[in-house]
């Protein structure tokens, strides 16, 4: 092993760590980790000796460096990660001919309800969809790591409350739930009691 980079020999003063070397380490860490790296993890690479501003700046530089390639550096809920640009996928698919999972409408609707109305119980989902929600639907989403049970509602039967996970946001390239496509503006159309009362008052 070459010795010149032994962490023990790193200068403790943050700014004395050559910024090219720092970027090189950042790049390597991001290229080798599939899961997004949050800033506090990234800091660990440098024994917490570099502050967030410096790192943010270097990450932006890295982002620019890669802009013209087949991969891009992005921020998602979990942190920073590299992923391939969409136009690369057709080529990559030639290596892995198996199709990625396509979800049924039932699965997608269940996911949408959990995403937009979380936390919800299976009963809540059934009420909105108007049909029973089969276990395999929830299992599919749990297996993908997109939803999990975060507790129980304190009613008879103590049903599990489901919510979406950080992985869900990561896999959909989102930083937060607010970035989900806004719900279609049906509020004005929905005739809730309050609504009709308001209207009758005006």
């Amino acid at each position: 092993m070459s010795e010149q980079l032994k962490p023990a020999q790193l200068p403790s003063a943050a700014d004395s760590l050559d910024s090219e070397k720092t970027k090189c380490i950042l790049e390597t860490a991001l290229l080798t980790t599939q899961d997004p790296l949050p800033l506090n993890e990234i800091k660990k690479l440098f024994n917490n000796e570099l502050n967030a501003d410096i790192l943010q700046h270097l990450l932006e530089e890295l982002r620019k460096k890669w802009a013209d390639s087949g991969i891009e550096l992005v921020t998602v809920a979990g942190g920073w990660r590299f992923h391939t640009k969409p136009e690369m996928l057709p080529f990559l698919n030639r290596l892995n001919p198996q199709k990625p999972p396509r979800y049924s409408r039932a699965v997608l609707e269940t996911l949408a309800i959990i995403a937009y109305r979380q936390p919800v119980t299976r009963g809540d989902i059934e009420e909105i969809r108007g049909v029973t929600v089969s276990s395999p639907i929830l299992k599919t989403l749990e297996a993908r790591g997109w939803i999990d049970a975060i507790g129980h509602r304190n009613v008879p039967g103590r049903p599990a409350l489901y919510a979406t996970t950080v992985k869900f946001l990561n896999d959909l390239n989102l930083c937060s739930l607010e970035e989900l496509p806004p719900l279609e503006e049906l509020g004005s159309l929905v005739e809730t009691k309050e609504n009709s009362e308001k209207q009758s008052l005006s």
């Binding site: 992923h83 990625p100 049906l186």
Partner: protein, 269 residues
Amino acid sequence: MNQVIDSIDKEPVAKVCGEPLMEIPKDLYIPPDALEVFLDTFQGPLDLLLYLIRKHNLEIRDIPMAELTRQYMAYVEMMQAHQLELAAEYLLMTALLIEIKSRMLLPKPVADTENEHDPRAELVRRLLEYEQIKLAALRLNELPHAERDFALVQAWIEKESTQQPPNVHLDDLRNAWVMLISRANVNRHHQVTRETLSVRAHMSHIMRHLNDRDTVEFYDFFSPSATVPEVIVIFLALLELAKERLVEIKQSKVFEMIYVRTIEASATA
């Protein structure tokens, strides 16, 4: 309310290319083999109702219950006629539709206010909420998905060269020794002092030295720069080695050179 229904029944149910359509198209016939596919197409009664409403351009805020119920029941009956396994929810919805329809046929109370609860309100709310989620699901599906629309980058981490060997701290050794002593209740004569440790260390050193060359002159073990304590320790080490029958110290005649060699060397000599 009743007159709304009546008027709607007389109004065109939809406009097709600007032409008012007075009658629901008789397109309810679906080939039996397509029925199963058809059943799969709908996520449930709400989905089917929405389909009917949208397909026939019905006003969702003022649903013509009679028409919608008729349409809906036509589908359900058709599916039942073909003995397709119909989820209970579909039948439940039939009952609900009929109930709403009949409540709307009841004569209006005299004290009619706008606050009066529309029997359709809850159904409309559910339909709109469901439609909202249905659209949201579509949008969600259009977002880029990991694996489906992009791949994650992960270069191989080459680890083979860095199998970390276990670390041993001095305290580990000390603790191991403490454990040994307390466990075995070793006699006092096993006690090793700093001095005897020095002797032990030199015993190893001398053995190593002797392994390299067969015979070593006694005085060679004592470097001129050695301090008095060092000389003593080396001397004790040699004596201890002799006592443990690890080395042989030999002098052929008085005042001749004293040679030290391992017992092994002397055995093979």
